[in-house]
Each structure stands twice: as C-alpha cells, then as structure tokens.
C-alpha cells in the first residue's frame, strides 16, 4: 500500500497534533504540501515531547556547564567527569501518559528507554531510580496504577540486571487522571570511550540493530503531547511493549562493540522511533541521510513507510559504522542473536530521503524537521497564592500526630515498592533504598555514587520559584547527608497544559527556581526531559519538576547512613528552626489544610550547612545523619530511630505553644546528626566558629523502643513501626471500594 495515496486534509493535519499555522509553516519551509508520510515525520519531530516548543525559551536559562561537565543537554544523557578516567552518565525521563493508559508496559518501557539513553553513550548502567506520583488513595484507579507501575519498573530493571536503588512516591488527587512515572538511569563510562549521536562521514553505512519493527507505539510521542479527555482508554495501542531480555542482549552487544573502534555515532530509537533517530543523527552531523525502508527488519508484513518511520517498537538502535568494521559489527550482533541490517547511508545533501517499494516516499530538508520546529513564548501568569493558614489546634499530642504522619500515604515506608525491585544485583549497592540517597560503589574502586530524586509538588504549586529551588536544595541535602559531593542534576519537568497561562506561569517560575538553586549550589543541569499536558480536562497535575541528582563519594568507608548506631550518642540539629507550617504535611494531614506559603529556601545556608555536614562525615566524626524534609524534625528523628532500632530522648528549646511548629515545621537547610559526646562538643564548637546554627537536641538511647520528648507521653517505636510499615501493604491488599 502507498501511504501517500492518503490526501492530507485539515482534519488529518489536526489528527497529527499540528495547528493550521504550524502546517502553513511546513508548506512554507518545504515549498509544497507534504505528502502523508512527510506529514507524519513533521508531526513526530515537531510535537511538544520531541521539540520542547513551549519550554525551550525557558530551558535555555538553566546553567548547563561546569568544570566537570563533559556533555550537557542535547546528547542522549548528561556526562560528568568523576576522575580516574571515568565519567558518570545520567538522565531522568518521563513515561507518564503511557503508564496511565497501560501501567505495566508504560512503566517498563520508560525504564527501557532511559537505560538505552545511557548505554547509547557507551556507559554501563549501574543504577536506576524513579519518581512516581499517583492519585488519591481512594481514587478507584490508584491501586491498579501503583501495582502495574511498580511491577513494570521491576519487571524491566530486574531482568536486565541493573539495580533500582531508590526513588520517591507521592499520592495526591491532582494526579487522579494523570499518574507520573519518571525513570532515571545512571551509568559509568571511560572518558575516552564516550559515544555521541552526530553522524560523521559521507557514504557511511547506516545500521539498524536490535528488535524488529512492529506497529506498536505509532504516534506515542504525539499522544504524550496531548491532554487526556474522553476515550483515553482507546489509546492503548499507542503504548509500546517492552522486552527487557532483548534490551539486555542489546546492552551487552553494544558495549562489546564499543570497546573497539567500529561505531562512529549511535542513537537509540526512543520517542518517534526511526524518524527522530535518523533526523537527529544526520542533522547534528550537518549531513543528509538516505534510508531504504525495505531493509528494515519487521515483525509484521505490509508495513508502510509511514508506519515504519513512526513505530515506537522498543529495543532498537541506529548506528553509523566505520565501513571497514561493518562485518565485525555484524558478527557481534549476530552472536547476541540480534537483528543487524544496513538500511541506508549518510549523504551530503542535507535531506532525508526514504525509499520504499521502488518509490521515494519522503524527501525533506533535515533542517526543517530538526531546527525549524516552532518555538512558543507562551503567555504566562503567576499562579494565585495559596490560601492563608486558618487557625488550627496546636494542642494535639505530638506522639499521636507523629503516629498519624508516619502511617500516612506520603510518609509511610515504601518497602512494599522497593522489595519488588532487585536493588542489589551487580553487588555494588552500598546504601539500599530507604535512606537519604541510594549509593553504589564504583565497580572495582573504593569510590561511590550517591543518587537521589526529589521534588515537593505542593511547594511548587504554592510558589513555583521557591518550590523549584527547594527541589534542587533537597536533592543537594540528600547527597550531603550521605557524605557525597554533589556533581550535577537532571530534571524531569512535569506540568499540565502550557496553553493555560497559569500552568505556563508554574513552568516559568519552577525553571527560574531550579536555575537559581543550581547556580548557587554548583549543580549544573546536564540532561532532562519535559512532560507537558499532564492534564485531564481542566484539572492539571500539581507542578512536578522532579530533580535527579548525582554525587561522588571519594571514599566509601566515609559514608553516612541515617539509622542510630549506639546508645548515648548526642543528637544535634544543624540549621535554623522557625517552625514554618505553611504547606507542611502536618498542616495537610493533621489540620486538613493545604495552605500557606512553602518554606523559604536560603541557598547560601543550604550550601554552608551541607558543606559543614559533609566535612564532618568525611572526617568520620558522625554516627548517623539525616536531613529534615517532609514532616519536619520529629519525622526525621523517628526515621532515624526506626532505621537503627534505637530510641531517643530530646528536649525542645521553645515554649509549649510553639512546640508543634518546632517539631513539625518544614524549615529547610536542616540536618539531624549524631556523634559520640566528645565529638559532639567539638562539633558544637566548630559550628559556632563557622556561624553554623547547631543545637543540642538530646541523645540516643538503647533498645528501650521509645522516643521521648520533654513534657510529652513517650512514643513507642513498635507502634510507629507498625503504622509506618503497615499502610502501603494494607492499602494494596485491600479490595477496591
């Protein structure tokens, strides 16, 4: 069948997600009407997901360079030097829309896609992370989505054999119609063997490797650039199907060939499949490309050029090979049982030409596809301020409040999730899920990589600039809390419909906040992804600019963990506590208010406090460290007690009326640290000398199993543990209402 027999009408243009103005621009650029296949290519290259047309003007304001940055945004993943001839390669990416439609495969292929982005660059993936957001627990779809997404992430990562070492999960009604699945992969590469995507050389073979192409996922990226409405379930065929076994073979085959000088450039086929990979490679190299689509390995007969170019079948790669090494390359891929097909060649024409069944089905200037996508500076407004905090009962017993919080959906243990992920394969996991950051040893060395994902969407919703900065600050804090030197971040920016000026205002504000924090904390943004249109009808998600951050531990023997280690260690609080209750979980969960401004972020204090704590860890002077985040100081203390199975006694410096705010306020730039008494004295003195706020709170106790706060009824650790561990398994085991 000749797809170009289909006439391109206004309706067909609209179905391809292009506006009539954008279509007019296409005609202007190529000097004629595109045929159906060509329209498909424009639709794939110009959609929001691939072109960043609504966000690019703002993304350009982010800091992306630094002395250790080898590759920033624009490659498949960011690359940062970690010394000794090695670099860390990482990126976080969303797979939101597919995961809502088909949670298992949507999440699985999200993991598969981000893994490919990392090993495409020559890196062996060493860790996966994820950031998940689901609707309210009482929403009828939530349980199904949690079960499917978690099984999908595990199913893919476990099989390919890359440990999933942590992440974050939140529940909120704004995600009822749009869950978020953000997957991050971190890999390690030799700095002299980094592979990039720009095609080089004229007449070099263009090689397709991996799985065969089927009709799955056609227009996936276009689907992911739209608001959900009625009929979302009919979009299931646009979700791809993952095959982690084939990806494992592809990983090993690619790394085996990458050890030799055969591959000139390489790009994985992700969103918009063969279209985006071939267009990006040729355009980046300033070349042209000709493909003979009859040579593409297919798993179904009768696929048209349109379908071949737009399929999002998984586990595929496109490479430009050194022609002298093509036979060797074929042997490697055939050893691993993978398809290997020379499907075209590089040219000097600056055009993409597609031949199929004796016809030329497409002949377009690459620049029009790659560089001329429309850019929008969309109108934006500062979103309205949240309501002021109404009076609430401050006399709630802190033990009761803590018990409630520790067993609430956003603070309960995520064990039910991470026990379904193989977090130990590769035998280098040295900090398992549940701590401030996951840590893997750099294989064969005594160095480590610490990894965290963070954002507090309710803060961003209340004040996008502060919320954006807080996400970076918390990531920085989580890395410092294990003793790692923060290196760089990847961002995964999830928002609603950018054509709504208030949503656009959230995007603009959050990017400003992220940029401010990244500059202040010396953490450049080296890779990222934008996911817009996370919206169902008029209801947009809470703005969720997730930050994935990576830090370096110079010596893994000097790594901190959060559990109390011994009795009679002194517990110190680093940072200033004003008792900020706005947007706190206490306010939401105990006082039933989502109100007030988020806690202010003092980036200079974050930096000084983080560096101070990191220095103490490096000197080996601390027995336990934990940052104060969601839920505030008392929640942090409880998490330390549960992790170490030891109690604590603390006293609060404020008078009774303010104790709630002291214990549950979410002031930033704070850490709880523990040290032996003689060390603690030295720490207090040193903090004073450096003008770091440092308060003695109390001491750890033996296994008496209690948290004691002056003047209140002691809190039983057993009760806390039962509430903390019980909520998620109980929720998942319960029958839907």
């Amino acid at each position: 069948m000749n797809p170009n027999d289909i006439q391109v009408t206004d309706d067909i243009v609209a179905e391809h997600g292009l506006t009539l103005a954008e279509y007019a621009r296409v005609i202007e650029l190529i000097g004629r009407k595109p045929n159906f296949t060509e329209l498909g290519l424009f639709s794939a290259a110009w959609n929001e997901h691939c072109s960043y047309k609504s966000s690019k003007v703002w993304l350009k304001t982010l800091p992306t360079t630094g002395p250790k940055v080898i590759h920033g945004p624009g490659e498949n993943a960011g690359v940062v030097d970690i010394g000794d001839g090695q670099a860390v390669v990482f990126k976080m990416e969303s797979h939101n829309h597919p995961s809502y439609i088909e949670p298992f495969q949507g999440a699985a292929t999200g993991v598969g896609g981000i893994l490919r982005d990392v090993f495409t660059m020559g890196a062996r993936p060493v860790a996966n992370m994820n950031a998940l957001r689901f609707g309210a627990p009482d929403h009828p779809r939530t349980r199904h989505l949690v079960a499917g997404v978690v099984a999908g992430i595990g199913g893919y990562g476990n099989c390919i054999g890359v440990p999933t070492i942590g992440g974050e999960t939140n529940f909120h009604a704004s995600y009822n119609g749009n869950c978020l699945v953000n997957a991050m992969t971190v890999g390690i590469v030799q700095t002299d063997r980094i592979f990039t995507s720009a095609a080089t050389g004229i007449g070099n073979p263009v090689v397709y490797v991996g799985s065969k192409t089927g009709r799955d996922g056609i227009h996936g990226a276009t689907m992911a650039s739209n608001v959900f409405g009625e009929g979302t379930d009919e979009k299931r065929p646009t979700v791809q199907v993952g095959d982690p076994f084939t990806e494992k073979l592809l990983l090993e085959a690619c790394l085996e060939l990458m050890a030799e000088d055969a591959i000139l450039s390489i790009q994985d086929m992700g969103a918009a499949g063969l279209t985006s990979s071939s267009v990006e490679m040729a355009a980046k190299g300033g070349l042209g490309i000709e493909l003979d689509l009859d040579k593409v390995p297919t798993r179904e007969a009768g696929m048209t050029s349109y379908e071949l170019m737009l399929s999002e079948s998984q586990e595929r790669m496109l490479m430009i090979l050194d022609p002298r090494r093509a036979d060797r390359a074929r042997a490697v891929f055939e050893k691993w049982g993978l398809d290997f097909a020379i499907i075209g060649k590089t040219t000097d024409t600056g055009r993409i030409v597609l031949r199929h069944q004796g016809r030329i089905d497409c002949d377009l200037p690459l620049g029009a596809l790659a560089d001329e996508a429309p850019l929008y500076n969309r109108p934006y407004e500062t979103p309205p301020l949240p309501p002021a905090i109404a009076a609430f009962d401050k006399k709630v017993d802190p033990g009761q409040a803590l018990l409630h919080l520790m067993g609430s959906p956003d603070l309960c243990s995520r064990r039910w999730i991470w026990e379904q992920y193989d977090h130990m394969v590769m035998a280098d996991t040295i900090q398992r899920p549940g701590g401030d950051a996951g840590v893997v040893r750099i294989h064969g060395t005594t160095k480590g990589l610490a990894i965290t994902t963070d954002v507090t969407p309710r803060y961003v919703a209340a004040d996008a600039v502060t919320g954006g900065a807080q996400a970076v600050a918390e990531a920085f804090r989580n890395l410092c809390a294990v003793g790692a030197e923060p290196l760089a971040v990847t961002d995964c920016l999830n928002f609603g419909n950018p054509q709504n000026p208030q949503v656009m205002g959230q995007i603009v504000g959050a990017i400003q906040g992220i940029g401010d924090a990244c500059r202040a904390l010396d953490m450049p943004v080296v890779s990222g992804n934008v996911s817009l249109y996370n919206q169902t009808g008029e209801l947009a998600i809470q703005p969720t600019p997730a930050i994935g951050a990576v830090g370096l531990l110079a010596d893994i023997d000097r790594m901190a963990t959060l559990g109390f280690k011994a009795a009679d260690d002194v517990i110190l609080l680093i940072g200033t506590t004003k008792g900020h209750m706005g947007q706190s979980l206490y306010l939401r969960e105990i006082a039933a208010q989502e109100a007030g401004p988020p806690p202010p972020v003092d980036l200079a204090a974050e930096r000084r406090h983080g560096e101070f704590v990191r220095g103490l860890i490096r000197e080996g002077r601390l027995s336990a460290v934990h940052d104060c985040a969601d839920g505030g100081l008392l929640v942090a203390l409880a998490e330390m007690a549960l992790a170490g199975d030891r109690g604590a006694e603390i006293s609060t410096p404020l008078d009774e009326a303010d104790k709630t705010a002291f214990l549950f306020g979410e002031d930033q730039a704070r850490y709880l640290i523990c040290a032996k008494p003689d060390f603690a004295e030295a720490v207090l003195a040193e903090a004073e000398a450096q003008h770091i706020p440092c308060t003695r709170l109390g001491r750890t106790t033996d296994r008496t199993g209690r948290l004691t706060i002056d003047g209140f009824r002691p809190i039983s650790l057993a009760e806390l543990r039962s509430a903390h561990e019980g909520w998620l398994p109980g929720f998942m085991a319960a029958k839907p209402q």
């Binding site: 099984a151 595990g154 199913g155 476990n158 099989c159 390919i160 054999g161 095959d243 982690p244 076994f245 084939t246 494992k248 073979l249 691993w336 049982g337 991470w418 026990e419 379904q420 992920y421 193989d422 977090h423 130990m424 394969v425 590769m426 035998a427 996991t429 040295i430 398992r432 040893r441 893994i556 023997d557």
Partner: protein, 230 residues
C-alpha cells in the same frame, strides 16, 4: 582451584559471581558462552549464575537447560565435578534434571528482593563446611520464581538423605510460614544432589561478601569451596 561460569543470554549475576570467586578464592573463573560445546579441562567447579536466561519467557530456566553447553555440564557433573546454581542457575539445574523438584512462582506472586534468614541444614558439604552445623545466616534473595516444590516422596527422600542444604527461618533459626518468603515446600532454600556435589539455591551468597554491602554471610561458602579445592 579451577572454575567456570556459564554465561547464558540474559544471565546478569555472572560478573558478580566471578568477582566473588576472584576476591575470596583468588582465581579468575573461565567465562563460558552457552553455545560452547566444550568446557575447559580440569574444572573443580562450574557455576550457573543468576539472571533471566532467555528472559525467563518460558518457564524460568527451561530454555537454558537445553543450551549446547549443558550437555558438557551434565557429563562433568556425572564425573563428580562440583556444580553450583544460584537463583536462575538453580532453576536451570532443576529444568536440566540435575536436581529434583522445580521452582514455581512465589506464593505472594510478586518479585521479592530482601535479606532472608537461612539455617544451614547440611554443613558437611564442599559448599557449607565453613558455616558449621545449624548456623543461621543472612543472605539476600531476589526472585519471582523461588517457590520450591517436589512431590512428597521426593521431599521425604531429600530430608532423609540430608540433602536440604538451606532452609528459610526466622533470625533465631526457627522454621515458620512468616519466615518463608516464597512459599517453598518445607521452607527449602537450597538442595543437594545425591553425591552432594551439586548445589542449587535461591539466595545470592555472592551479594554479601564485604561489610560495605551490609554483611559477609555469603563469604563462608566461597571459603568452603576454596578449602575443598585447595
């Protein structure tokens, strides 16, 4: 000591076990591709590593059990060579008929990755001698299909012949349903062949051999092997 690790397509603990052998036993094992017909001469030990051979898209281990190299593994096993199957390797050994029984989907139906407690039931083997009798150890599991099953006669026979190498227990060494992570019959975590030279187990001793990993209870297995083949 001379060892080989078989690499199947989809194996993903092959490097981990090779590292453990190098680190503790001081030897680099031969890495043997599943399509090879022959094994190196003079092997003391063959390891079938963990992973998802052929994606486990059929029954776990069923396709790998038919790999060309498995004929050589069987003939070496018959000649008395030690064969260790961990996780997917255990599944392959049962599918290949080198060990009795089979591994079904976990009773809870979910993949499980966590530390479990094991009691060393058979301490008189080349794998377990360094643990001592009735030792209780902590080792991680990571599997979807670890639910050991066999008919009652086989289970009775395994018990009578002392061929249950490890059982899942609580930290005090007591057998209990709550301490059995996957529903395995009689809490069996590892079994031995009749000649006690073949061991299959679901837990991963190679993952806990260094304090930085959170424990060292995997180490004595490699110490035992090193002593056996010194």
């Amino acid at each position: 000591m001379k060892a080989a690790v078989i690499v199947f397509p989809g194996s993903n603990c092959d490097r981990d076990i090779a590292d453990a052998l190098a680190k503790i036993c001081g030897m680099q094992p031969h890495m043997v591709w599943h399509k090879d017909q022959d094994l190196p001469e003079g092997l003391d030990l063959i390891v079938l590593p963990g992973g998802f051979s052929h994606g486990d898209y059929l029954r776990s281990g069923a396709i790998a059990a038919q790999a060309p190299v498995m004929r050589a593994v069987k003939s070496r096993a018959e000649a008395g060579c030690a064969v260790l199957g961990i996780c997917n390797g255990f599944q392959i050994l049962t599918e290949a008929g080198l060990l009795p029984g089979g591994l079904m989907r976990n009773a809870g139906l979910k993949f499980i990755c966590r530390d479990v407690w094991l009691k060393v039931d058979a301490a008189d083997t080349i794998y377990t001698r360094s643990y001592g009798s009735d030792a209780v150890i902590r080792i991680p599991v990571a599997h979807h299909d670890g639910n050991y099953t066999a008919d009652e006669r086989t289970l009775d026979k395994l018990e009578a012949e002392g061929r249950i190498a490890f059982r899942y227990t609580d930290p005090e060494g007591n057998i209990a349903d709550t301490a059995n992570p996957n529903g395995s019959a009689r809490s069996i975590a590892g079994v031995l062949s009749a000649n006690r030279r073949i061991l299959g187990l679901m837990p991963h001793p190679e993952r806990l051999i260094d304090p930085i990993q959170g424990g060292t209870d995997g180490r004595p297995m490699f110490n035992s092997l090193m002593e056996a083949f010194a």
